[in-house]
């Protein structure tokens, strides 16, 4: 059977971005989601990216996925449980 809890600890990143318009935000979000270790990525109306990543994704890899013109900078990084992500995702 498939594992019911494929991850334990996760990392939640907040990343500031510059020079983004509405459609560019979506491209950044898509490119981040392509990373194997990224479980959730969202670029908000405030221009910041919120990323939830498993142990396979490093902040270096995440920043490298964002084009340099957006001057991506990690604002915060905190730990969370996969269980918490599940409880937030389920109704």
């Amino acid at each position: 059977m498939s594992p019911e809890m494929p991850f334990g600890k996760l990392l939640k990143y907040s990343i500031s971005l510059k020079n983004t318009d509405e459609l560019e935000k979506r491209k950044i979000q898509y490119d981040l989601l392509l990373l194997e270790g990224v479980l959730r990525a969202h670029v908000g109306i405030d221009g910041n990216a919120k990323i939830i990543a498993g142990p396979k994704a490093s902040s270096k890899e995440i920043l490298a996925a964002i084009p340099a013109r957006h001057s991506a900078k990690v604002l915060s990084k905190e730990s969370m449980d996969y269980k918490q992500l599940l409880s937030e995702s389920y109704n």
């Binding site: 059977m1 498939s2 019911e4 979506r26 898509y30 989601l33 908000g44 599940l86 389920y90 109704n91």
Partner: protein, 545 residues
């Protein structure tokens, strides 16, 4: 009163699409060109893309009249969306911007399959990880779907790979039943049901009413998947009283000459075939413009071919777009004062009609009911109630006037359709509908998108949703068109290595394949009952005039 729909619009109109190469979201235009509808956009990196959207602008306009208002889930579970801007189609979960509640939920039970069809992209090949969610995870997904408000999911399709390969398939079906799903379907090749003695009965007893069975043509060439085996599935399902919906994938130049033949096959087996649901091809992976043009078929063309190949016994005019039934939903909501199950999908996603068999005569529902007039009348009655009219009086009006929309002499001899409408809409008695099933078939069409014809307005309206074990509920055309961020990605997270699966299953081969004995199958009485088809309703066999 025309309710606001906030999508579509006359041609040309603006929408959003994606670049088929890099998936960048792009502003796009849906426009008319030489009588056809195209979707056009330009990627700064990969250039211009112009793809056929619908083959008839006139039919697009006609069906566009039936665009219905949103009927969304009020407790979306993609929390980041809405409050913080939504990035459709990359925030699915469902998000607060999604316009339809779950009409049909899908749960993929396994990626194992005992066939390896060349055109299928979704089965584990030798050595690849196996995805098989546990009963506990399946239960969580079911409860998640049932938690949608105000309209919880009520119909579920268990799919795969081949779902019947799971040893605990009966337990899974029972779980769906336990969680309150009223319609449980299996999406299957049908082979296990046809060949494993007693399985069809067990599946029925556990709660499955309908199977969706791939059936791409009436000849060996067009249906290499289950041409020889389908007759056995039909027999087993007939005996177990499970209905079958035939699901042909339509590809221009491959099986589009057999559309009439497939309907003919359904009619020949109307005691077990409840419908034919054609799916015009959607292209996965990179495919050249030349190949797409050669194989692309969309709803209007497929309907034209139905008319041609059934000699007009079924015509384009007999079909209506899926959201046209919103008038019925709206009336029932007005009468019951409760939010109802609605099909608020985009009008370009699908079309359907009902046909009845009366002796050897085929009667589409539109030939004895003034569908448009009836929908308009229902809207008038709904307006009355919404403006404060008394529900009992309005229901009485329907009772008195419903007959005006029915040509009694043209309806099937065994039907009193006026009574059936009143029983269903006013008394909510569905027993009469169940009784006519054995003499009727739904002929439907559902065109799933691909990256080339992708319209984000359509995905926002989708009501066929996949539940994933990570808690998200994802629209079909996000799940399958962007598998790299939804389907494949999450299933990989929840997969186990091939060897581990084999070890957990007593050394069983996860890739065990079905072996066909053509001679034996062609010599069977089941095969002889189906081929050649005993009755030729349209004056030709197998689509060849």
């Amino acid at each position: 009163m025309q309710e606001s729909t906030e999508y579509g619009g006359d041609l040309p109109h603006e929408t959003l699409s994606v670049c088929p190469e890099c998936k960048r979201v792009l502003k796009a235009t849906v426009l008319e060109d030489e009588g056809k509808v195209f979707i056009e956009r330009e990627c700064p990196e990969h250039g211009k893309f112009k793809e056929v959207y619908w083959e008839s602008a006139a039919y697009y306009r006609k069906m566009g009249k039936y665009a219905s208002p949103a009927n969304q889930t009020l407790n979306p579970n993609a929390k980041s969306a809405g409050e913080d801007g939504t990035s459709c189609p990359f925030d699915c979960g469902l998000c607060s911007n999604h316009k339809s509640h779950t009409g049909l939920a899908n749960i993929a039970l396994t990626n194992r399959c005992d066939l390896s069809c060349w055109y299928c992209f979704f089965f584990a090949k030798e050595g690849e990880p196996i995805y098989e969610p546990s009963l506990k995870d399946i239960d969580k997904m079911l409860q998640n779907l049932k938690a949608e408000k105000p309209v919880p999911a009520n119909a579920i399709q268990l799919t795969g790979g081949e779902p019947t390969l799971r040893d605990d398939i009966i337990d899974v079906i029972k779980l769906c039943k336990k969680r309150g799903f009223e319609q449980i379907q299996l999406n299957t090749t049908g082979m296990s049901l046809g060949f494993k003695k007693g399985l069809a009965e067990k599946v029925k007893e556990a709660g499955v009413g309908i199977i969706y069975m791939s059936f791409d043509g009436v000849s060996k060439k067009t249906n290499p998947k289950n041409h020889w085996e389908a007759p056995f599935t039909l027999e087993a399902c007939k005996k177990a009283e499970i209905g079958i919906v035939l699901v042909p994938t339509l590809i221009k130049g491959i099986n589009d000459r057999e559309i009439g033949g497939i309907i003919n096959f359904g009619l020949n087996n109307i005691d077990v075939v409840r419908g034919v649901n054609f799916q015009p091809v959607s292209f996965v992976g990179r495919i050249s413009k030349k190949e797409r043009d050669a194989q692309r078929i969309t709803i209007p063309k497929a309907l034209e071919l139905i008319e041609e190949q059934t000699q007009g016994k079924l015509s384009v005019e007999d079909f209506y777009t899926i959201p046209s039934i919103h008038s019925i939903t709206r009336f029932v909501e007005a009468i019951t004062k409760q939010k109802q199950y609605d099909l608020s999908v985009h009008f370009a996603c699908g079309a359907a009609t009902y046909i009845f068999l009366d002796g050897k005569k085929i009667i589409p529902i539109t030939r004895f009911i003034d569908v448009e007039g009836f929908f308009e009348y229902l809207d008038e009655l709904s307006d009355e109630i919404e403006k404060g009219g008394l529900r009992a009086i309005t229901a009485g009006k329907l009772l008195l006037n419903v007959g005006k929309f029915i040509e009694k002499e043209k309806q099937p001899s065994y039907l009193d359709f006026g009574k059936l409408i009143v029983d269903t809409l006013v008394k909510h008695d569905f027993s009469a509908i169940a009784k006519i099933h054995e003499k009727s078939m739904l002929i439907g069409m559902m065109h799933f998108m691909d990256p080339y014809n992708y319209d984000i307005e359509r995905v926002q309206r989708c009501d066929i949703h996949y539940a994933m074990p990570d808690g998200r509920i994802v629209p079909f055309c996000a799940f399958n068109v962007h598998p790299e961020i939804y389907r494949d990605k999450v299933q990989k997270q929840y997969s186990i290595p091939w060897k581990q699966w084999a070890k957990e299953h007593g050394g069983k081969d996860p890739n065990a394949k079905y072996k066909r004995n053509v001679k034996e199958l062609e010599g069977s009485k089941e095969y002889a009952k189906c081929y050649p088809m005993p009755v030729d309703f349209f004056g030709f066999q197998g689509g060849k005039k």
